[in-house]
């Protein structure tokens, strides 16, 4: 069982043509429906739907309020290593980039964790590049052992592993997995990942399901927006999320909408995704999958993040550093430049001022109390 056949079928489908045949009437009909299928989702991603953003936003807002209330879960990333064997053309940590490489010692991991925990956050996202010989499962397990007393919920955004490795980390206390396919277009994927283990499109595509099978409570997927036509990428992402939801109903499936940001290296986005287009993508996802968690990161600017809150967002990062060890020692270069440098306290105040409640803790570890 794999999403691969569906992803390959999508890559051959004349989606562009389908998007262009959608009419305004089609959009109006779909926005008013209680449940929509894949063809309705496609309708909401079409250029014609861009003229109906107001109606889509209203519907997305209503659905979000129903299923999640006025709450936003907060988390922050902790980069523990930037060693990487991959040659992703769009990434600041790519192997050919001449940047200082480092892996935090366990004492440094603890220090980072303490700085983050002091902000009140109880959900952490642990990040590395892909270099298992430098920062592999053993190292991650040690990091989790140190961080777990500070954070009831720890997710990882590291490198694709086998199910048995995810099971090991789940036993250690990892409850969430984030892995972005970057692009669902297999040809473009091959072009953007010329060397390194990440070249394996299929292994990466199946990573979310390996995580789900290993017992992860949350699996967060996404495409890096800017690499190619966003409509196709969001369509594939939404179908992938729906596929995962159906097969792993006990897992909270989440989607991130990362837009490309400036980074070390000369790669430029192939297509820019405007604010309106990002809103269309998010509201279409919400209407298609009302229970989907949607994450908006600090790649987005403060005013934009604040304004799109009611339209489907359920998770936000706050107090972010994308540099290894950047919480305890600020000022270092990170994986990419963030657009929203606000502290956790500032994000908390912003949410309160807009009538939203920041959720710092949304899981209680239950192992060992039987």
């Amino acid at each position: 069982m794999s999403f691969l056949p569906e992803a390959l079928r999508l890559s051959c489908e004349p989606l562009q043509q389908k998007f262009e045949t959608v009419s305004g009437d089609d959009v109006r009909r779909v926005v008013g429906q209680e449940h929509i299928d894949a063809s309705g989702f496609l309708t909401l991603l079409s250029p014609a739907a861009a003229e109906h953003l107001e109606a889509m936003a209203r519907r997305a807002h209503t659905l979000t309020l129903r299923h999640f209330g006025r709450t936003i879960s907060l988390f922050t990333p902790l980069y523990v290593s930037n060693h990487c064997a991959n040659h992703c053309r769009y990434c600041g940590f790519a192997a050919p980039n001449k940047i200082p490489r480092t892996r935090l010692t366990l004492d440094e991991v603890r220090a980072e964790g303490q700085v983050i925990a002091a902000t009140g956050l109880r959900h952490l996202l642990l990040l590395t590049g892909e270099a298992p010989h430098k920062a592999g499962v053993d190292y991650l397990e040690e990091c989790v052992r140190i961080l777990r007393p500070l954070f009831p919920s720890i997710s990882i955004e590291v490198f694709p592993m086998e199910t048995a490795d995810y099971e090991r980390l789940a036993r250690a206390g990892v409850d969430g997995l984030t892995v972005f396919q970057e692009t669902y277009d297999p040809d473009l994927y091959a072009e953007l990942h010329p060397a390194g283990p990440k070249r394996d499109y299929a292994f990466r595509l199946d990573t979310p399901q390996r995580g789900a099978e290993a017992g992860m409570r949350v699996v967060n997927i996404g495409a890096l927006l800017g690499l190619t036509d966003w409509r196709k990428e969001i369509y594939a992402t939404g179908l992938h999320a729906a596929w995962l939801q159906k097969r792993y109903p006990g897992v909270d499936i989440a989607v991130s909408l990362p837009r490309m940001r400036p980074h070390a290296g000369a790669f430029q986005p192939a297509c820019l995704v405007s604010d309106r287009e990002l809103v269309q993508a998010m509201t279409a996802l919400r209407i298609f999958l009302p229970r989907l968690s949607i994450t908006i990161s600090t790649r987005e600017a403060p005013a934009f993040r604040d304004n799109i809150l009611p339209l489907g967002v359920t998770r936000m990062s706050a107090g972010v550093s994308t540099a290894v060890g950047g919480h305890a020692k600020p000022g270092q270069a990170g994986q990419f430049e963030i657009s929203d440098p606000r502290s956790v306290a500032e994000i908390e105040a912003m949410l309160h001022s807009r009538g939203y409640q920041p959720v710092f803790k949304d899981w209680e570890p239950i192992e060992g109390c039987a």
Binding site: R66, G120, W363
Partner: protein, 250 residues
């Protein structure tokens, strides 16, 4: 309302509205909602409680007179629900527990089999167990046999505010079960809660709908009269009561 008392787990309650905590824009609204509604029982997800954060902990906002009904939100199996319940009691949340065992995130429908297993274990440990369930008579009987103190059937899937879509099934539970029936998910408007009460439900739990209200609206008993008596089917039932008049925002 003195004459309209009902009892769960040895506790006498005069309000038939149970409230939630999880969907407000600010936890500070919780105490205002408790006061305005007259509710005496409030459910709280243990997963959200952070006792290390004394300054802004959801528990701080719950008035002392409320009966805490911690819930096992996040549990996917009976074993997880049991562990969460034990943690809740160890954290000082009392011995009431609302069992939620949900392994389907798309619809948030409860797993009847796992719920019955958790109910049996926890009832034996002295918990007052209120299981959230799909209104199925066989599951309800299993829950009663397992020691549930009340049964909480859903009116519609959580968060949908679609009212009593399971009306016929709930009516059967009200007719057949001797335990209090508390209608849980799905209630989106005061009139839907009223409908549940007129069917003979013992109480309603309203969570999603309250934070969505744009104007202050009385979920509580009217100032000029009591709640209608819960009526068993076949009895004449209460006179229609002007329970749900909207008031302008203060």
């Amino acid at each position: 309302m003195e004459h309209d008392i009902f009892e769960i787990g040895g506790k006498r309650l005069s309000s038939r509205l149970f409230t939630g905590t999880g969907k407000y824009g600010s936890d500070s609204l919780i105490s205002a909602v408790c006061e305005a509604s007259g509710s005496q029982v409030i459910t709280v997800a243990l997963r959200r409680v952070d006792l290390d954060k004394s300054a802004d902990n959801v528990m701080r906002h719950i008035p002392g007179h409320m009966t805490l009904l911690p819930n096992t939100s996040g549990a996917r199996t009976a074993g997880e629900a049991v562990r969460i319940a034990r943690l809740a009691r160890a954290m000082g949340c009392g011995n009431w527990i609302k069992i939620e065992v949900i392994s389907d995130n798309r619809y948030l429908l409860p797993d009847g089999y796992e719920t019955a297993r958790a109910t049996e274990i926890l009832a034996k440990e002295g918990f007052v167990v209120l299981p959230y369930m799909n209104p199925d008579l066989y599951v309800a009987r299993s829950l009663a046999d397992a020691g549930a103190a009340a049964i909480m059937p859903l009116g519609a899937p959580i968060g949908t505010n679609r009212g009593l879509r399971t009306e016929e099934m709930i009516r059967i539970l009200i007719e057949e079960m001797d335990l209090p029936i508390i209608v849980d998910a799905g209630i989106g408007t005061p009139s839907q809660a009223c409908q549940a009460m007129e069917m003979g439900a013992a109480a309603c739990l309203v969570n999603t709908a309250t934070p969505r209200l744009r104007t202050r609206c009385s979920w509580a008993a009217p100032s000029d009269g009591p709640w209608p008596q819960a009526a068993k089917p076949g009895s004449p039932g209460p006179e229609p009561s002007p329970l749900w008049r909207r008031r302008p925002r203060p």
